[in-house]
Subunit: 123 residues, 2 copies
């Protein structure tokens, strides 16, 4: 059944680490909200067979993709293609919120099995 | 090579029909900006093997998924799973901008071939 997700109400923060709020999940994609207090980060990591797109919806983020670093503000997006190292840091001074979508090849090339998605991945 | 896309500068409108601005494309995903003047729409359509997520970034949109209709405002998102009919209308009075991501199974279950993506699809 289809659902509407409201980023305005679902965003949440925590002092101990970046918060990752799940929005949607299908055999082909994960869509999450990343909420970072100043200084918080998702460490650089990579995954094969999955492309990730970051959209900054609030605040600013430094997004690393491979050897490149982007200074990203609201309504700006960056693609991290499969196999590239990528990570995100909130340089502050305020909070940052990113709408992040990861598209991956379903396990078995089309089955409904989902690969493991660790919501603490990368910390 | 990674790129930053700025929705603030890439958005564009036209009186004759909704504008679809391509942001990113990989074997696994299409990411586009839909820019609608009041009354413009993308007609309902469906595709197998592809999930679509709409995020309203400006204005309001009526998004249909199957038999459901959602009244969606800024920072709200709706998932249209594969196989469901889905479409979007800008009821006005202002312009609407949506950040839309479609995740699909790569042709051949993992090859780099891309299925046809008609940027006028659905009109």
């Amino acid at each position: 059944m289809a659902e509407l997700k409201d980023l305005n109400t679902l965003r949440r923060f925590a002092m101990e680490k970046m918060q990752k709020v799940g929005l949607f999940e299908t055999p082909r994609l994960f869509c999450d909200l990343y909420c970072l207090e100043p200084g918080q980060a998702q460490k650089a990591h990579s995954h094969g067979e999955a492309d990730k797109v970051y959209l900054v919806v609030e605040g600013r983020a430094q997004i690393q993709v491979g050897s490149e670093r982007f200074d990203v503000g609201p309504q700006q997006a960056v693609l991290a293609p499969s196999g590239s190292d990528h990570g995100v840091v909130n340089p502050g001074p305020g909070r940052a919120v990113l709408y992040v979508l990861m598209a991956h090849t379903p396990a078995g090339g089309g089955s409904t099995a989902k690969p493991a998605h660790d919501h603490d991945h990368g910390h």
